[in-house]
Amino acid sequence: MALALILSAAVLFATCPLGAQTDYFNTDRGRPVRIEDAYPAEWHALELKLAPLRLDRAPGGAYTWGVEPEVAFGVLPRTQVELGAPVSYADRGAGLARRAGLTGLDLSVMHNFNTETLTLPALALRADVLAPVGGLAPDRTSGSFTALLTRTFRPARLHANAEFAVGPRPAVAGSSGADQPEASRWLAGIAADRAFPLRAVLVTLEGYARQPVAAGADVEWNVGAGVRAQWSPRVTVDAGAGRRLTGPAQSWFVTFGTAYAFSIRALVPVPAR
């Protein structure tokens, strides 16, 4: 089924008008892996992340589908705001009711402090707020801060992310947070990527640890890999896969996503003379 969806989406985009930047080199959270680089959307750019899919398969055959359409806007130099509406559908196996719904409304602001130089990595900070909107959302608003770092070496770029939740621990709908498989008290990880610029393709690997939000859960270790490619100047496609190595639900997951970069003339001031 996942393959069918991926192929359908690929066919859909193959028929879209193609039209811009080299966005495949600027990775985003979950696109294709969890750990991202320290660069936000360009000033005045809008990035529409269309139908980014994630499928988790837990032991025993329980599936969780996630779709998180997002829009990011380069609101200021080196600063983006992003709004996401994650939707989850959990098939929890024989005898258990299926659950589907919005798992919150995610608003984030990311600011990059500097561009990488020979002596300094690129550094950024992101603040996230997840509002309790939707049937599978947490019972109260939760927030987190993430520090991001990118350093380039000749063979590859390395990215380090460290995320910490702030405020009281929210009670998660569903059992053990299964509806929000990525909700964490803290998360820390590293990704390495290598670009193939003449093909406009980026290959990436990651490893990260996180403390799930559910009470009493152990620290989870995860690994993932993905590919991100520039389909046309405006469209980026990505696909990834990974595995949760520890914890009670050592699941596999696959992701697929597309992003469309554009801008709106009314949002771009041009001096009169």
């Binding site: 750019a45 561009t115 020979l118």
Partner: protein
Amino acid sequence: MSASGRTVLGMRRGAACLALVTIGLAVPMLTARAQWSTVHEQFYLPASHNWAFRDRYPSADRMFNAFDYGHAILYEELLRHPGAPPDRLERVQYGFITGRLLVSPPRVPLAEAAIEVDYARLVPEAKAMFDWAHLLHRQIYDVWADDRIPADGKDARVAELLRYYKSRPDLAFSSSPKSMDLMEGAQYSLAFRRRYPKFNGLIWGYHWLQVGLYDALLAGLSPDERQANVTAAVARFWQMLDGAPERMPRLMPMTAAVAPRFAARYPEAAIIFDNLHSMHDVVSDILASADVPPARKRAEILLAARRYRDDSTQVISREEWRGMGDMVGVNNMGGVAVGFLPALPVPTVPVGSTHAEAMERAMSQPAPRPESP
């Protein structure tokens, strides 16, 4: 030790490794001479003409993607292998670019930071200046490739693009013409063209086509004529590569000489592109010159970048700028881009010459008449 104890120990070791890697990535921050750069990217001006050139002239558009590779690999090679034999660029890279890349160019614009890895971190400010000017280049092609925009509408669009370009004074090249002495009169000047004549000729061939295509578009009175002119200009570029470096431009192609229609109609844009192309040569010279030690290269490039952005350093009049091509001879710059003869124009100066030498030569003997169809 119990299984759970081993798991906890493993997690702690993993966490310690993660912390060490993160510290390793961040350690350079602690060095005394850290370079803090806040240069940032900005999206191109959204408009109905966006990507019109790519849609209507895909072959020429794709060549620009290959040109981006040529500039990027040049800077990276010069920076990473300063004392390497010229063959690395003159034979290996030149052969790859002309034999494979230009023949089958990339289908989308390149992420140059993935090619010029060290250069992009040495001077992200200069890289951003080039990127910003290249966006202007491409957007003006789009305006003139969009057949839906009437001629007077095109002028208004180009004027708007110029205002948008100049809204980034930290990135925008000056629209005041600069003396060639800024490019050819420094301690490091000519280092690149003398050591790498073929690759230098290739870069000048790029610049000839980049400005020449404007005249190809402006001179065409119908879409068919514009297609024919663009095809002819691209063919002329290939003709220059045959027998390099002898048949390549011998002096930096100047917009007023190669694309006189464009320079007359949009002098500000033409001057910006001449300053852009001069700065490309200056960066090549700084990176190639042994007189500039590695520790000084960033400072010299940033100094040159400031001089090409300001409206005061070595500024000449527009009349002097327009006359420069006539003085040194457009035949030394690859010739005009529209209405040329089948044979390449005959240059009057040897490979590796300077504008000053060409001027002296022009004053001591009558210049040959520019070609005309």
